[in-house]
């Protein structure tokens, strides 16, 4: 028992992490450390093409390899109504491809074998008849009228457009720009990146045929939410599903979604009555799991001659990949819009965003970022920096001049309600990039010292009295 004089090491104490003892000793218990009696191993065959029609899959040679227990294809999954699954944005995502592959690295088939090595070897024995289609690698191309349609699985889908979203006060913002002494604009691209946690994704699915109990050890940041999703998708009673997330080696948002591997491993365990382990390798993690960013951004700042900010106008084009698995766009209101308009005392702001399908991996929620706040923070701070240069003032002074004053600040801003409706097509401006040939020059080091501020939503909200409007749509009337 603690002595009465010993201070309680509560809040404010740098208590040593109790977790570190087992981690430093190499005694952690990660998903790949779990070994169950009779456990099988699964490996996934992935598409080498970004966009191709599947004419047929012949798994007979793989089936014949000693040690192979089963080959799972999209056709088999479809028989159990599991060839597709829902995403967080009310879209669907292929679990195993049946009709087409839509990004390089997409899951096509899975081998379940007595060892992980046999499973991997057998992948090479699966013959897939692909018919290559034109790949779309930019959202700009995706939205052109002659672009091939990626989501032919969706009834009546005739383009690659996913959503239009807007928030803020358009009229007040237009007025601010009409009356501005100075307008500064910036086109920038926040490229696709990946959090690449030290531990890749994986699971051990253990469906007990005697009890009907499904225990799934999974690299998940949200085990409860996953259990509910599994119950709804697989039609299993929730009390029969147990999700266990043991030690997790980094997530950063990469381990929020349900990935096809989890679903296939669980289905395989259900069908075979034995535990099935699936652990992806590094390349699989990088090419197929939740990416981050991939936002093309255009920002404009309206200013008075003295540097007072009077309006912000932003248009965004999001490359969502082949399946819309990002956070639902209506949440951009509390993330993207709140941050891009949240640090400076802007009387008016208006933001539009469009999402497009491309032949790339789905994702968008990952890398330590809620609802696109990272893109928002980056855009506004780059824009303010360039505005200072154009006005010929110190960037720090311009920031200080425009911060929300302490007096009259609001400490909370409940998210505005969202409505869903079709919107008109936003205007895009693209800047072409040019490269130059090398030329010699005197070596000189340039020094810079510049600040950037993260969003500080606690201090302000747009001054406009009208409530901000949020719209989002999974438009079919794009053209």
């Amino acid at each position: 028992m603690a002595t009465e004089t010993e201070p309680i090491r509560g809040i404010g104490h740098s208590v040593r992490r109790v977790e570190d003892d087992r981690f430093i000793r190499g005694a952690g218990n990660y998903v790949d450390d779990i070994k169950l009696p009779g456990m099988l191993h699964m490996a996934i065959l992935r598409s080498p093409y970004a966009h191709a029609k599947i004419n047929g899959i012949d798994a007979s040679r793989a089936q014949a390899l000693p040690g192979v227990v089963a080959v799972v294809t999209g056709e088999l999954m479809a028989q159990h109504n599991l060839a597709w699954m829902p995403t967080m944005s009310y879209d669907t995502q292929a679990v195993l491809a049946t009709d087409k592959v839509r990004f390089q690295g997409q899951e096509v088939a899975a081998v379940v074998a007595e060892s992980a090595y046999v499973a991997k070897d057998a992948l090479e024995l699966i013959d897939v008849d692909y018919e290559a289609l034109e790949p779309i690698v930019t959202p700009q191309r995706a939205l052109e009228s002659d672009a091939p349609v990626i989501r032919t699985d969706k009834e009546d889908k005739t383009d690659n457009h996913i959503y239009d979203w807007e928030s803020g006060d358009k009229e007040a913002t237009e007025r601010a720009f009409a009356e501005a002494d100075k307008v500064v604009s910036l086109d920038t691209f926040y490229p696709r990146c990946h959090p690449s946690p030290l531990e890749t994704c994986g699971c051990v699915a253990d469906v007990n045929p005697a009890t009907g109990q499904a225990t799934i050890y999974m690299t998940s940041q949200a085990p409860h939410a996953i259990r509910t999703v599994f119950a709804l998708v697989a039609g299993l009673p929730e009390e029969k599903i147990r999700i266990v997330s043991p030690d997790i080696g980094g997530g950063f948002g990469n381990k929020v979604p349900v990935y096809p591997g989890y679903v296939v491993a669980t289905a395989a365990s259900l069908l075979l009555g034995r535990p099935v382990k699936w652990i992806e390798d590094r390349t699989e993690n990088l090419i197929s799991t939740g990416f981050a960013r991939d936002f093309h951004m255009h920002g404009e700042l309206a200013l008075k001659a003295d540097g007072t900010m009077t309006g912000l106008r932003v248009s965004l084009l999001a490359d969502e990949g082949a399946f819309h698995a990002d956070a639902q766009p209506s949440k951009f209101k509390v993330g993207l819009f709140g941050i891009v308009s949240g640090s400076y005392d802007l009387p008016a702001a208006h933001v539009t965003a469009t999402g497009a399908y491309t032949n790339k991996a789905p994702g968008g929620v990952a890398y330590r970022c809620s609802f696109r706040v990272t893109e928002a923070s980056y855009l506004i701070e780059r824009l303010v920096q360039n505005a200072a240069y154009e006005l010929g003032v110190d960037p720090a002074d311009l920031r200080k001049k425009n911060f929300i004053p302490k007096t009259g600040s609001r400490t909370s801003r409940p998210p505005a309600s969202c409505t869903t409706r079709a919107t008109t097509r936003p205007r895009w401006t693209w800047r072409s990039r040019r490269s130059a040939t090398p030329s010699s020059g005197a070596s000189r080091r340039r020094h810079a010292r510049r600040a950037s501020c993260t969003g500080s939503g606690s201090r302000r909200s747009p001054r406009s009295s009208a409530p901000a409007r949020t719209t989002s749509t999974t438009s079919s009337g794009w053209r």
Binding site: C193, L286, A442, S443
Partner: protein, 305 residues
């Protein structure tokens, strides 16, 4: 967007806390025990934190969007206060005074005006199973589901000084200062780790990380040969500072900190490089700022000059 927490105090005054969020390295087993310790006066090493098993923990939405401390941390504080309410009743029973006359501080219940008459949380825990008031249910545990009234809003400022080699496009961070405000700080060492990790990732994004595709849709960046992570060799040294502005609605005034540095720092690196190159006429370079891209921007600006 609620998350649950369950707290049970065992007869010897040790505890188990079950939470709905999932640590991936953030140190929940340490910091959540500290929240309980603060609220009820049991040392954190005697509070076992359980998570990551849907059969054995309360429902909740999990760990992402910097939400563990804002939501589950709040649930943890509130469930501990709920347990403390019952503990106060038991302490009043043991000390034979009315509940209103009990004062609580750091694990000790004392009688108002008679500070030498005390019972510890350990005394109370044993009594909760062996000597509880008539009409009271035995045991010392509770569950609390917390639905946050608002988001928490951490903020901060990042300042970067760089030098750029005009001839090669290489750039180097000379100083990186990060000042973050995540409200009340539960474990300063763990927060420092969160900020360091976020700043390292922010630097990686600004300097080298890129998943791109060729015209056939082949992924460039499918291995660590092409997709670069900053090692200790590249990562700048960080200087940290903090301000403390408590969240006005969170039970302990804490705010999320997991994402702050990753969100805010990339712009600071890019702004610094652009600031260095501005005299040449460079106004923008898209991330990642590889030496090749910086060099190309310098050449293009010179050609335009």
């Amino acid at each position: 967007m609620n998350d649950g927490a369950e707290l049970r105090i065992h007869p010897t005054g040790k505890a188990i806390l079950k939470i709905s969020v999932q640590t991936q390295g953030q140190g929940h087993e340490t910091t959540f025990a500290q929240i309980v310790a603060e609220e009820i006066g049991i040392q954190p090493e005697h509070i076992k934190v359980m998570h990551g098993d849907t059969d054995n923990t309360p429902y909740g939405l999990g760990t992402y969007a910097s939400r563990s401390t804002p939501v589950s941390g709040a649930a943890t504080a509130m469930v501990t206060r709920r347990v403390r309410e019952k503990a106060t009743k038991i302490a009043a029973h043991l000390l034979e005074v009315s509940e209103e006359d009990i004062e609580f501080h750091a694990g000790t219940f004392s009688v108002r005006g008679a500070p030498d008459r005390t019972k510890t949380i350990q005394d109370v825990a044993l009594a909760a199973y062996t000597n509880f008031p008539d009409g009271m249910e035995s045991g010392l545990e509770a569950v609390y589901y917390y639905d946050p009234p608002n988001l928490t809003f951490p903020f901060g400022t990042y300042a970067v000084a760089v030098e750029v080699d005009e001839e090669t496009g290489e750039w180097r961070v000379r100083r990186m200062v990060a000042v973050d405000d995540c409200g009340v700080r539960i474990n300063p060492m763990v927060i420092e780790g969160q900020i360091h990790g976020g700043l390292t990732e922010g630097y990686g994004i600004a300097a080298m990380q890129l998943i791109t595709f060729d015209e056939n849709g082949n992924c460039i960046g499918s291995t660590f040969t092409d997709y670069l992570l900053p090692t200790s060799m590249e990562t700048p040294r960080f200087e940290l500072g903090e301000t403390v502005t408590p969240s006005p609605h969170h039970p302990i005034g804490a705010k999320g900190v997991g994402e702050s540095a990753t969100v805010g720092s990339p712009a600071a690196y890019v702004n610094a490089v652009i600031d260095a190159l501005r005299p040449l006429g460079v106004t923008n370079i898209d991330m990642p700022l590889t030496s090749a891209k910086v060099w190309e921007a310098i050449q293009a600006a010179k050609a335009n000059a």
